[in-house]
Symmetry: D2
Subunit: 122 residues, 4 copies
């Protein structure tokens, strides 16, 4: 089991897309985050596509993500620690509701946390 890549353990592109969809649903219910989507400037389908390809690229090594660098995407948003923690909470809840294993949850949390510098207060 040690050798199976996280990408496969998460169910490949389909599993990752399901997580991205659930994550966005959670964000839209989360009062600390939902306002980000209130002005209608972000298309939901596009957000799920972008997140899916971003994570598939990182985990599979196949460069399908064509969006802007993570740091660019968050420039000007002034995201703080509380909002970042809300994102992590939503991600953990999404994985839990989809039955992702504890070990995979820990690895995903670790990866997400490592991106904090590109998300918070740029």
């Amino acid at each position: 089991m040690e050798q199976i890549p996280l990408f496969e353990r998460l169910g490949g592109r389909d599993g990752i897309r399901a997580m991205a969809e659930r994550l966005l649903e959670n964000h839209l219910q989360n009062p600390l985050i939902a306002t980000r989507y209130a002005n209608g400037s972000m298309d939901r389908e596009q957000l799920v596509d972008g997140a899916t390809e971003f994570f598939c690229t990182g985990l599979s090594g196949v460069p399908t993500y064509e969006g802007r660098p993570l740091a660019d995407v968050h420039t000007g948003m002034n995201i703080d620690d509380a909002e970042f923690v809300a994102v992590l909470d939503d991600a953990i809840a999404a994985m839990g509701s989809l039955g992702v294993g504890e070990r995979e949850q820990a690895e995903v949390l670790h990866i997400l946390y490592s991106m904090k510098g590109d998300v918070v207060r740029l």
Copy 2:
């Protein structure tokens, strides 16, 4: 002195515009706020114009402000208390550097603070 309106005590439109300009300069130097302007989507001249007319309208009663309601402007920005406090700090510093009197500073602070509900976490 009690009867002189705050609008006049602040130096009318010119005084208010000077405060708006100084405030934006402070914001651009303030690490808690400056990132908001990092993506270049906001024109500085336009920001000063908008702030000037917004406050002139509120203080003089002459409706020259043609922008969107304050709450609309901040929708989706997810501004939190720390960022709002940074705005107040910059406003107080701007008034101090322009020699605005203590009493006027208190009145302006009170007015700005009363707008918190339209700025923070909509």
Copy 3:
């Protein structure tokens, strides 16, 4: 009216004590602050006494406050901007419910705000 000191306009020691009591009541209802009192280490009567004498000293010039300096009192509490804003909200609500005038509210807010450096993140 310009000449009447704020201390008198707030109703002297009695008025200030009423504000301190109402403020503490509000804090105990405020989820952002109430936890501070959860461990029972702070006596409520003592808190009201301290706040009353602190403000009477500052506003009347008669040095009846015998407590520690404000900065000392808050050392180690790690109070952040959000909690400080919650205090200001409670103070404004307290003054409003006691019928304190707009001008006095503005002056008190200005004074409280000027103490931020001794309260937040020491």
Copy 4:
């Protein structure tokens, strides 16, 4: 390797104590946390002892921790997300400087994160 318990992979009690010591050192250098220790009410040796036994109890199953429940310890401290994130940052830095493996770091981060409810805003 899958079967080796995290307790052993972290180097047992000695490894965990080294992490607790490094973590406290990092906290004392971290401006978002250091003020918590500024009033001298917390003994450093005691803090390291407590953290060591707390984690050894959780990871080894041998109940050597005799302190108060985690939620009790943090009651009244009003710790927010930003301070909690600062703790996680310090923990990751501590593990990195001690050469703890990526997988172990992910598992520890996951465990720490799961304690958020007992640490933040009780």
